[in-house]
Subunit: 371 residues, 2 copies
Amino acid sequence: MFEFKLIKKCRQTGARIGCLITPHGQIETPAFMPVGTVGSVKGLSPDEVINCGSQIMLSNTYHLYLRPGESIIRMAGGLHKFMNWNLPILTDSGGFQVFSLSKLRKITNDGVQFSSHIDGSRHFLTPEVVMNIQRTLGSDIVMPLDECTEGTADYKTARIALERTVFWLKRCYDEIYSNDNMTQIMFPIIQGNMYKDLRIESLERSLEYAKCGIAIGGLSVGEPKPVMYEMLDTLAPHLPDNMPRYLMGVGSADSIIESVIRGIDMFDCVLPTRIARNGTAMTFSGDITIRNAPFKDDFDPVEKGCDCYTCRNYSRAYIRHLIKSGEIMGGRLLSIHNIAFLHRLTNKIKNAIKEDALLDLKKSIMDNYVM
Amino acid sequence: MFEFKLIKKCRQTGARIGCLITPHGQIETPAFMPVGTVGSVKGLSPDEVINCGSQIMLSNTYHLYLRPGESIIRMAGGLHKFMNWNLPILTDSGGFQVFSLSKLRKITNDGVQFSSHIDGSRHFLTPEVVMNIQRTLGSDIVMPLDECTEGTADYKTARIALERTVFWLKRCYDEIYSNDNMTQIMFPIIQGNMYKDLRIESLERSLEYAKCGIAIGGLSVGEPKPVMYEMLDTLAPHLPDNMPRYLMGVGSADSIIESVIRGIDMFDCVLPTRIARNGTAMTFSGDITIRNAPFKDDFDPVEKGCDCYTCRNYSRAYIRHLIKSGEIMGGRLLSIHNIAFLHRLTNKIKNAIKEDALLDLKKSIMDNYVM
């Protein structure tokens, strides 16, 4: 049911064009995946997300486990049906959310105990439980429970987390692939904090559990971008060609280009929709704070040359008015633009890889891109 | 540019089927008009509103005057272009909003002085200014500045407000129809509080300013529904046949049926979208609080037999989950359903009028309708 076709390798860089085939459709890589944390890309309908160019949506096991709970989604016939999304779904395991959102967490080799950020209720998640929840959700791509350390963690802490992540990975693997499960694939998550030897070790020990994809976690957690790129450079020579590489939680234009050059194929991030709701548009000239006063009488589209629904039909002035007035439609229109922007970016990247001109594209984009 | 065709009069009641032709399209009556207060039906795109069945949108002069301001909308080329809505627009004058939202208001025969509910800034609106703003907005149907008294106002207060409303009406008329304005029509507003003689007098003194439509204001402001119906009964024999009658601010199923029976053709209300965002669905069984626990595992559509986008694609359980999670999409889906519900209602009413069976329809609806 799953297959990754490597279509072209860039001659200038580590970039690749590929295609991941899943039971719910294919994902052309490099790909950006919008995030529907609790089963909805905030404010957007599935059709709108698809019209932006999305071929897969990410959702969060942690959130869905706490609310509405897996039993509701089981009764609905799975997450695809529940949220009316018929394309592929990737669900994050909840590991990162347990560490970033929940309180009173206690981690042992058995699993993780934590209090819900919603109502304080106590929960205990094991690798097996997390796999079973994702089996119920029916996501195409599932993620194992992992331990994500802070970017400032010392070596010993990072080492312990790595060991636990690998230990849990085997248990996740055994659980998700029991019963001849052919409709879901698990991407192991490489951890190791900012320590190169740990990153390589984590990758090497994860490979035997990687069937058709591997993920890099624990980056973009506050470290400077050059540090993240250094970690990607460290991993690049060791990553297998025959599966997609997913860099978790990255979604800015500059980071996507730099990461694709280092061999990354898949990305997800709440950034485009989060900043949209705050009145910021992503463009090839950098982020634009549409809510600012200069746009009050600017009747151009958000970005000239963009053919998204928002840019075809609305002006910056109108969107600014909506944002200033607290109207939901403002964030919705900018969310559409921002997601479409990241797909335009990955499409430009694909075309440049085809033409062996990715470094030229990078230069032309970064010359105009104000950070 | 404007014409009202009276298509059929009900043989059982005062109800009518009609069609109001405007420069931006026609409105089949009885009609419900959704409200886009600041130039956006909260959370919905124009296409979605149209797909619900809407043929006209109401917007608010008071809000648009304060933000973004008429100069921005002039530069945009009018409100239709600004908000990407190509069907008819009716703009309320701001009279009601000045009295319900603003502070420190002072009313004289010249006009109304008030402080903005947004930033406290002082403003002075005259009948002429209000007409000029609406000319700039380019709304198809404009409303005159009127004085709306509280439902509990005494006779003398209501009398003074009536006199001022008529005085302002003439000034609005002279202003809006100066320069051979053929693209906008003004509906005079009947006031008179809950005093029958004042209501009739207000109607009679308004008629000479009514070219192709008349409105009834100052009802549904807190008085019991039977009192509102009594006022409509009082007015009914005196209302001209050859123009649509618009009852301002009414949008519940029972009130719409009762009012249509009393000869009303047009309605507007924020109710369907406001309660939607709070998790309540309008149905032919009465309002349903989808956010309540019993719907957590209810996988039926919001209302069986409804063919709106929401009911075709989503379950009550999913919408409840979105509402409980504070997801914008929940309010959006219920807004779509609620607006579509009111159009389904007016369509049923039209069919019943055609078949001279409106009283049967009323009985069958009200027998199932829980208030």
